[in-house]
């Protein structure tokens, strides 16, 4: 086993850790979450219930968790990576067997105080394990076929379980998120070329399988693809979402209609206005200025993570931060593309803004890992 260069003398201990927290990142997260509270307040017609208040409570919980995770030395998390990964696989199997059924898919485990979505947890544990794997692996072996197959298996096992739920969006996020870690670890370009090519092949297969006995996707998933390609084909059914979303977003104009003046979302023309389509409400009420502001906040979060990762000389830490940043990027990029009609409607929430327990707490936990890596980064003797 190779261990990171963890030098107790150069790494802050005890309360002094607080000084090393990346406070700018904390402020940015707080800002994004506040945008979320405001929007949830707005879509409820100017009311803390039913969405804004629970979301704030969960945020408080997530924030505490973030700091606890951040205080724990990063090597502990690296040692926990395999265990966490296996644990999340177990949860995915568990949800397959006993999970709650919602909206045609088995996704949640009811914990009483919140509904846990194991696939959200899996996104992070997958990144953790991959980072630990590449930390363990000799740099020279990174692109050797045998050592490339192993991480691919690590990615595909949870992906298969998530696809089974079925949750195409999360499965795609797992694959792309894992691939991002592999990419950052230095796996040769050609592999990615090959994967993209075979991905294209898979898409062809998926399309070809439609209507046959070995059909790869559910009928509703095919309909979503149809709708994405031609929203007008089903204006009152599945295409309704995209059409209405585009109308609401587009009608926002430069500065929007103002808080709680978004007619389309308030009058329920917009489906799932408090979850997957919350960005549309933001764009309708605060216009281009509001939408771009949130995008800038997201990009700043990414930038701080990447700078932190690049400054970090520990391989596990760097890869973990980049993996988490990449996953975070996928969240908002897919969600925004979806509501703007650039991508098919796959249930991906807007990170830290959409109403939802699991995603927010898991993401804040993940940023706790980022902070831990930031605090416990190897430093030269001072």
């Amino acid at each position: 086993m190779s261990y990171l260069e963890y030098n107790r003398e150069t790494v802050p201990t005890g309360l002094s850790k607080v000084l090393y927290v990346n406070w700018a990142l904390v402020v940015l997260l707080l800002a994004v979450c506040s945008v979320g509270f405001l929007m949830l307040f707005s879509v409820a017609g100017g009311s803390l219930s039913p969405w804004a208040e629970p979301q704030m409570k969960r945020f408080a919980l997530g924030l505490v968790m973030m700091f606890i995770v951040a205080m724990v030395p990063i090597y502990f998390w690296r040692n926990m990576a395999l265990l966490a990964y296996l644990g999340s696989l177990l949860l995915l199997v568990f949800v397959e067997l006993f999970g709650d059924v919602g909206m045609g898919a088995q996704r949640w485990i009811d914990l009483g105080f919140m509904r846990l979505q194991p696939s959200e947890v899996a996104k992070i544990t997958l990144v953790m394990l991959l980072a630990a794997y590449y930390d363990w692996l000799d740099v020279g072996k990174t692109s050797r076929p045998l050592w490339v197959i192993l991480p691919v298996i690590i990615i595909l096992v949870p992906t298969a379980l998530v696809l089974k739920q079925p949750d195409l969006g999360t499965a795609l996020l797992l694959v792309v998120g894992g691939a991002m870690v592999m990419f950052c670890a230095g796996v040769h370009w050609l592999y990615f070329g090959a994967v993209i090519a075979s991905g294209a092949g898979l898409v062809t297969a998926v399309v070809a399988s439609r209507g046959t006995t070995w059909q790869l996707l559910k009928d509703y998933q095919y309909r979503r693809i149809d709708t994405f390609l031609d929203p007008e084909s089903d204006p009152l059914g599945a295409g309704y979402h995209i059409t209405q979303s585009k109308i609401a977003l587009g009608s926002g104009g430069w500065t929007g209609r103002g808080l709680m003046e978004g007619t389309q979302s308030r009058l329920n023309f917009l489906p799932e206005k408090h979850t997957d389509f919350i960005f549309t409400t933001l764009a309708e009420e605060f216009g281009f200025v509001g939408g771009v502001s949130l995008l800038v906040l997201y990009v700043l979060i990414l930038a701080f993570c990447i700078v932190s990762a690049l400054k970090n000389r520990d391989r596990f830490s760097s890869l973990l931060i980049l993996g988490i940043a990449g996953t975070f990027f996928l969240f908002f990029a897919v969600n925004m593309s979806m509501v703007m009609g650039l991508a098919p409607v796959v249930g991906v929430p807007l990170p830290l803004v959409s109403y939802g327990g699991s995603a927010m707490i898991v993401l804040l936990g993940a940023f706790g890992l980022v902070q831990s890596a930031h605090i416990h980064r190897p430093r030269g003797r001072r």
């Binding site: 740099v139 950052c184 587009g250 764009a283 703007m340």
Partner: protein, 638 residues
């Protein structure tokens, strides 16, 4: 195992490179998203904004209140009453059948009604309101209101509906309103959008139909904001409509009620007209029907009863019914001949009981003949041969022209669905209609109001009024519109010599009042109210048989036209009793009773009747009282 420093350096370099590439890609994608947002929110904003407004704002019409209709004394004939109803928006109802089943526990609906409702809802747009039941009691409405959570898409409403408080008295005059049919819409060039509202009712017949547009008023509208499921969220603004015009008719509802009652179960028509201004005071057509049945949607059984009745309750006999006027036409022939200068009032002709013309024998109603008769005698005893002689001298063109001058064969302009033109035949008319030559026998038939001549009770009353007043008086049915009096038409004198008119009037006086007059038993003995008139019995078939021996529908029509008081005429009356038998026996007593009612403005004293007919009048009054009590009971129960 510690990693070699070189390995670490290599790893850091690699991660830095790849990390920067990934960051660049992510940044690029973020820029793409920002660009897309700019394109949608700035470049295409107007387009999307328009779509958003279309989504959100709906216009809806507010139906105006329909104009009211009053009689000449301000008594309401057509009003709007508040009704409670239950409407459903099928789109919001979810499982229609299930919801309907639950509603039926509160509101009794027959299986047939429920089936019909389901079928109509499936045909209509799912977001349009459909009225499931109306005219509910307050209790039923409240129960529906309390149970709305269990009845998705259903809501209780208060609306206005037409009501005719006079029941069957005015059915033929004002008609009724009913739902707009596809046929109604197809007849109108550019229909008012109101007409497309479900439940909206328009005038179907009578005044309601002829004055439809003024009565309807102008629709208001409101802009409402709706949510995605079409539910109304709030009203953005509202423009009140303009209520329909109120109408006041010339009809006296009390007199009308008497006329309808007096006609009773006969198939008959009777009209009363003010000879000084043309006001139609009563327009009776019997039997009648309750127009409220049509407003509510008449049942198949009720409708069949009305259509299959051989007395044709749905026909407006007063304005639309055409009858051979019989002897009531003799004034026309007499005036035509005198005005043509071919005869004078004193000139006599011999009546042997028939007249031979070109090998055909034309009978007088009295087979034994009247002997030598002049104008006065011929009217008094209704001698037919006298008029055959006049027709031979005057010719049909003169008779036809005189008929038109007196209002027969002319369409009078009153707002009823179908106003018959009647026929005052001429040679040209016959040539066009039958492509046949006019023969002299046609003239003879026409001279006594038979053959081709046809007149409506309305035309007969106009004739009587013109004879009485000597003016070209026109009938008037609408007295005022929104309080503004409508003009009286035809006060100019008739183009007939006053002497001739006076001689005809004298003859009519003797018909009723002289000892040999055909209507002597129906005379009025009250001072200053003497009636003048003319009986008529028009043949329905050509073979002469006794009336009692033939089926009802082959019996003669009984007619009577009159005016009174003789010295200073105020009212004209016409009565036609289909298949009633003789004009003197059946039509004249009705005309006298109606005339007295008009003259006295209510029930006349017994002294107005000759003592010989008082017992009979007493019986009639008892019958009417009984009938009125029955009707009162029925309307109390309703």
């Amino acid at each position: 195992m510690r990693r070699a420093p070189k390995d670490t350096e290599e790893s850091v370099r690699k991660i830095t490179r790849r990390g920067l590439v990934m960051g660049g890609l992510m940044g690029g994608f973020a820029a793409l998203l920002a660009g897309r947002m700019r394109y949608m929110q700035v470049d295409q904003a107007d387009e999307f904004r328009l779509l958003a407004e279309e989504n959100r704002i709906k216009f809806s019409l507010i139906p105006p209140e329909r104009g009211l209709i009053f009689d000449r004394n301000g008594r309401p004939i057509a009003v709007n009453e508040q009704i409670y109803r239950v409407v459903i928006v099928p789109e919001d109802a979810g499982d229609l059948e299930n919801t309907l089943a639950r509603l039926r526990k509160i509101i009794p609906l027959t299986d047939e009604e429920a089936e019909k409702a389901l079928e109509e809802m499936r045909r209509a747009s799912p977001f349009l309101e459909y009225t499931i039941a109306d005219r509910l009691s307050w209790e039923q409405l409240s129960e529906v209101a309390v149970n709305t959570p269990a009845l998705p898409g259903i809501s209780p409403e208060v609306g206005l509906s037409r009501h005719y408080p006079m029941l069957e008295d005015f059915a033929h005059v004002i008609g009724y309103v009913g739902r707009v049919s596809d046929y109604d819409l197809s007849k109108i060039e550019d229909p008012d959008p109101l007409l497309r509202l479900p439940q909206f009712q328009i005038g179907k017949v009578g005044v309601e139909s002829k004055w439809e547009e003024p009565l309807r008023g102008k629709a208001g509208n409101r802009r409402i904001e709706v949510n995605a499921s079409g539910r109304v969220m709030r009203e953005l603004d509202r423009q009140q409509g303009i209520s329909g015009t109120d109408l006041q008719l010339t009809v006296d509802s009390q007199l009308q009620n008497y006329v309808q009652a007096r006609l009773g179960t006969e198939s008959a028509a009777a009209m009363v007209m003010d000879v000084t201004n043309g006001d139609l005071l009563a327009i009776g057509s019997a039997p009648s029907f309750d127009p409220n049945l049509f407003v509510r949607g008449i049942s198949v059984a009720d409708y069949r009863d009305l259509t299959e009745n051989d007395h044709r309750p749905l026909a407006n006999k007063a304005a639309q019914g055409l009858y051979p006027p019989g002897s009531t036409f003799k004034m026309v022939t007499a005036l035509a001949a005198m005005e043509a200068g071919v005869v004078t009032a004193g000139e006599t002709f011999y009546c042997p009981g028939h007249k031979e013309v070109s090998g055909r024998r034309f009978h007088c109603w009295k087979r034994s003949g009247h002997g030598w008769v002049d104008l006065d005698g011929s009217l008094q005893q209704s001698c037919d041969v006298y008029y055959y002689e006049l027709a031979l001298k005057a010719g049909i063109e003169n008779i036809s022209a005189m008929a038109k001058k007196l209002g027969i064969g002319v369409r009078h302009d009153i707002p009823m669905s179908a106003v018959a033109e009647g026929i005052a035949p001429t040679k040209a008319w016959k040539a066009e209609r039958y492509e046949q030559e006019w023969v002299v026998g046609d003239s003879l038939n026409a001279s006594i109001g038979q053959g081709f001549v046809l007149a409506s009770p309305l035309q007969l009353v106009v004739m009587a009024a013109r004879l009485a007043s000597g003016t070209q008086i026109e009938p008037r049915l609408v007295k005022s519109v929104d309080g503004r009096e409508t003009p009286v038409k035809g006060l100019e004198p008739l183009d007939i010599s006053p002497t001739a008119l006076q001689q005809v009037r004298k003859g009519m006086y003797n018909v009723v009042n002289s000892s040999r007059g055909t209507a002597r038993s129906s005379r009025i003995v009250a001072e200053g109210m003497t009636m003048a008139g003319k009986t008529g019995t028009s043949q329905v078939r050509s073979v002469v048989v006794r009336n009692q021996d033939v089926p009802w529908e082959q019996r003669d029509h009984a007619l009577f036209v009159a005016f009174a008081p003789y010295d200073n005429p105020k009212y004209a009356v016409s009565v036609v009793v289909e298949h009633g038998g003789g004009g003197s026996a059946v039509a004249a007593p009705i005309a006298r009773d109606v005339m007295l009612q008009a003259l006295y403005g209510g029930l006349p004293p017994m002294e107005a009747y000759p003592s010989s007919s008082r017992w009979e009048v007493e019986q009639i009054r008892k019958d009417l009282k009984l009938r009125e009590d029955l009707r009162q009971d029925a309307s109390d129960r309703a």
